[in-house]
Symmetry: C2
Subunit: 204 residues, 2 copies
């Protein structure tokens, strides 16, 4: 299981980027998970459906399963550590985190303009792996040695992220996260898949 | 974790019964889960939401988490055994299964009329614990020694189900289910909660 994250302000284009990268990973034969942090209280499920009704009636956990999919909804007494969230995933090869900007995984920062980097207090953060900027006539990339991409360079961004995620060793994962999420479970199932070095790069 | 199931034909009132029993268990201080089998392919989540978009883009698993709840949606290569579904539940005291009529857990059968029992091939099934019938002028209860309740006797039904679920010993669980769902994980956290015997009963 290899992990990287996509962070950015609200409406910066995080979901669009993730959405467009997924087919790239799927085409490599990888199983993909997305783990999204929601700062507010999300609503899921359709009002009036059975699952919605029993949740509303007070069920702490609800699972619905068919032959081809399952969904599990639960109330939490306290916020869950990302390591515990990850432990729920079955056999996925790549995990794209959305919105966990304080965790030490390789990080794409989606920016509408350079000032947002400072607003998010991510300037100088060593886990920032690349900036992703919207292509615009007056786009001003941050003045930094960090690689940068235009948001429409989806394949290059995905290839680069996957390379960075695979470079991360167990030692790079903070102790607290290692405890929750044992290093041994970060396996190498997908390591035999071809990744042409020539396709990996960043803007000079 | 104590388990019982509610089975019945489509639109027989299973969800309504479950929905009405939940507050009874919650009032006892129990943590409640509902696990629903869906014969068709359910849809969950709202079209256009971020989680919906990344699922549609091909993500095999999607988790969304806030400080107070989480939802986990995943595609399954093959139907999941109920034991594995149950292993996803955290610390719940009572699990209400909806629609797993072939499993050997105490079973409430919700009937619109007695003939449905034969349609479902549940006549003579020893795991059938009680019949639940809609109160109607011409309601014909099945001719059997199995206890029966009217659907509006929610508290009596819940009390009875809880008693039956607690009576089930590890030996009652079929070997296959024991393997998937170790007996040791069927714990007794809630056993100290008061259950007045006088409130438990069934129609004479």
């Amino acid at each position: 299981m290899r992990i990287f994250s996509v962070v950015g302000r609200k409406n910066s284009g995080k979901t669009t980027l993730i959405e467009r990268m997924i087919p790239f990973f799927k085409a490599k034969g990888l199983r993909v998970a997305v783990v999204k942090h929601d700062a507010h209280d999300f609503s899921i499920d359709h009002e009036g459906k059975d699952t919605w009704r029993v949740r509303k009636a007070g069920a702490d956990e609800v699972i619905i399963a068919s032959g081809s999919q399952m969904a599990h909804m639960r109330s939490l007494p306290a916020p869950m550590e990302v390591g515990e969230l990850l432990s729920h995933l079955a056999s996925v090869d790549v995990v794209i985190l959305e919105g966990y900007k304080r965790l030490n995984f390789p990080k794409l920062v989606v920016l509408r303009d350079a000032s947002e980097l400072f607003d998010m207090r991510l300037d100088g953060d060593p886990s920032v792996t690349a900036y992703v900027l919207r292509r615009a006539p007056n786009a001003a990339p941050p003045d930094s040695a960090v690689p940068r991409f235009w948001a429409d360079e989806v394949e290059r961004i995905a290839e680069f992220s996957w390379k960075k995620a695979r470079e991360m060793t167990d030692e790079d994962i903070p102790v607290k996260q290692q405890t929750i999420y044992p290093a041994s479970s970060i396996h190498h199932r997908a390591s035999s898949i071809e990744h042409p070095a020539s396709a990996v790069g960043h803007r000079a």
